[in-house]
Symmetry: C2
Subunit: 373 residues, 2 copies
């Protein structure tokens, strides 16, 4: 297994460092990769404590860096398995990024340094050579009364083939996320670029809307929110209705999308998984591919009837993913059992770990290969 | 004058704070705006020193925050004039972002917190209501032998008017920048959205390529660079040649761009200003609008002949911008004098301050109103 900061997959740390420091003598390298270990360093001569917090560590655990005589703190760890991880330093109690590592992922309102451990599982997170276009597009939601931002991935070749129409995956984020979550934490563009280039996935458009119905766009855009009581009956499923009644028609009007159920997939994580199950129950004739991730469903006296509606309308794939340690696993098992009880063909895909991006990236690269075939 | 963190133009600090903290009791607000002053706060109970570094302060100057009994450090300052500024905290010698302020701009490899002081000059930096599309697009450079990333701004209405063709502004970044510099630090999308919505600027496509010929994309994308000796004769003007011979045709093939000199503008800051003067000297028949910013030109025995080539080819606008304290001012004066000496109509626009983004945003919002008219 090779270990590397993301860029180190292609640029070695020395190059990175020169980029950062213009080749100054004795530059600080962090993270530095040697075999299966990774070393983190921070120049913090006046700090009294420097901790490393990485999302591969048990919740709440940190690792203390040791201060050298040169005022540079460091620690060397065995690298976690092949995936993308995030980390930050805590300097005298204050969370800070690694100034040597300019690879940053935004998770909600937090900016976290990125570490990629190279390996088979993470290979599709690297840049491919045939790259699609990623655009930020605005649409008017009549039902919500606001102009809203979405991220749209257009596969390599979309512009060069003006007659070709494409199927569409509607890919939904979770609570605290926004329209940039899947392209930042999720590496969606790289994953689709690689799978399409390797012939493992069909060329497809991926639409990543903002799933917070009170928001116009990611909070980092600084736009005002609207007040929306999502518990009020008239606002029930406000976002899901906007997705199916407004976003889907907008995409099929503005892009060369195949306007058929057989060319529409919906997938989402956590809250977005809830949006996925709700959208397919409320609108069983819209999507042929249904992939909820890390999201439970509640037993109810109408659950069977809801699922029978989907069964009656017909579907091509019902793919459910969840981590073994995910708090959503009990609800996922309810969904799995209900699908079985209702005689609905489906896949339950489980993996190590919990409610986290390493699983959602794995699920995307797994079910994306099953869509539109 | 109203003062606010950027989002505070539309969302007050309390709302921001609730967004950030889910309405927890006694949340920390930073920056907090009251009248013409701004207060910065950081929860850092274990730190021994917290400094504020803002780019509105004299080079190298910082302001010390004072620690309260609750472990929260703070300082209140008179706000600088209406513009966008960046700042960070220095905790026990280590630079860190303000955890309460998720408005971040990336300047090269540095992530800096953003503060916007509202006022007439900065009003076009806010979100408008009719927003264009911003996309990241890849093109193959035959001359450089790499696939390269550019940012393209499509004005509001581009997609809704499939028959309409648009003029194009090629907007170039400076040294240390990349294809995201003008949309991050430069607020290009917001500036054009506002000026177009207000009828002050023509609807136009804005193309923001990567001006580092050895790079495929921003270093934050983690892609390998190529070795290119820019001093080697065969590599002279490698980027400028790629811009005119490859990027311009790519744009005119892939977008509804008007393929005419009268519908092409070129502008750039610093290194990009050098690219602007070089491109127009080497290819005098390509651009009718020429706007170098914060960039000098050297006296040479061929300067007059170079400029005469542009004069002979004809142009509609030669607009030169530079800060009074900019180290590029002497070279700017050489360009100004040479244009005058050669009987070439032009504008020299000067402003307070130096080699900095507050000037480049001001120049963009100023010359953008003069293009394609």
């Amino acid at each position: 297994m090779a270990v590397a900061a993301l860029f180190a997959g292609t640029v070695d740390a020395q190059e990175l460092n020169n980029f950062n420091f213009g080749g100054r003598a004795k530059p600080i390298v962090s993270p530095e990769v040697v075999g299966d270990s990774v070393t983190f360093r921070l120049n913090a001569n006046y700090a009294t404590q420097v901790l490393l917090s990485g999302n591969w560590m048990p919740m709440g655990q940190t690792v203390a860096l040791k201060k050298g005589t040169d005022g540079i703190w460091q620690t060397t760890l065995k690298a976690p398995y092949a995936e993308i991880y995030t980390y930050n330093f805590i300097v005298d109690g204050v969370s800070t990024n690694d100034p040597q590592n300019f690879m940053i992922q935004r998770d909600g309102t937090r900016y976290l340094n990125m570490l990629m451990v190279l390996g088979e599982r993470s290979s599709v997170y690297n840049e491919s050579t045939k790259r699609g276009t990623v655009e930020h597009r605005w649409y008017d939601s009549q039902s919500l009364g606001i102009n809203r931002r979405m991220t749209v991935y257009l596969p390599y070749g979309y512009e060069a083939n003006p007659k070709k129409k494409y199927p569409v995956l509607y890919l939904l984020h979770g609570g605290g996320g926004d329209e940039e979550a899947w392209t930042s934490m999720g590496r969606t563009a790289q994953i689709l670029d690689n799978l399409i280039e390797q012939g493992k996935a069909e060329p497809m458009i991926v639409v990543m809307p903002n799933g917070n119905p009170n928001q116009q766009a990611a909070s980092t855009m600084g736009l005002p929110t609207i007040t929306l009581d999502t518990r009020a009956p008239e606002n029930a499923n406000a976002y899901v209705k906007s997705l199916v009644n407004e976003i889907v028609p907008f995409i099929e009007k503005n892009y060369r999308a195949i306007p058929k159920k057989s060319a529409r997939a919906i997938a989402g994580l956590s809250m977005g998984g809830g949006h996925t199950t709700s959208a397919t129950i409320l609108f069983p004739n819209t999507f042929d591919y249904i992939c909820p991730m890390s999201c439970g469903i509640r037993e109810s006296d109408h659950l069977d009837a809801d699922l029978q509606g989907i069964k009656k309308a017909g579907y091509k794939l019902y793919w459910v993913g969840c981590g073994n340690d995910d708090f959503a696993m009990p609800g996922t098992k309810i969904l799995d059992a209900a699908l079985t009880r209702n005689g609905m063909e489906h896949t339950l895909f489980t993996s190590d770990g919990g409610h986290e991006w390493k699983n959602w990236r794995l699920y995307l690269q797994t079910f994306a290969q099953l869509l539109f075939k």
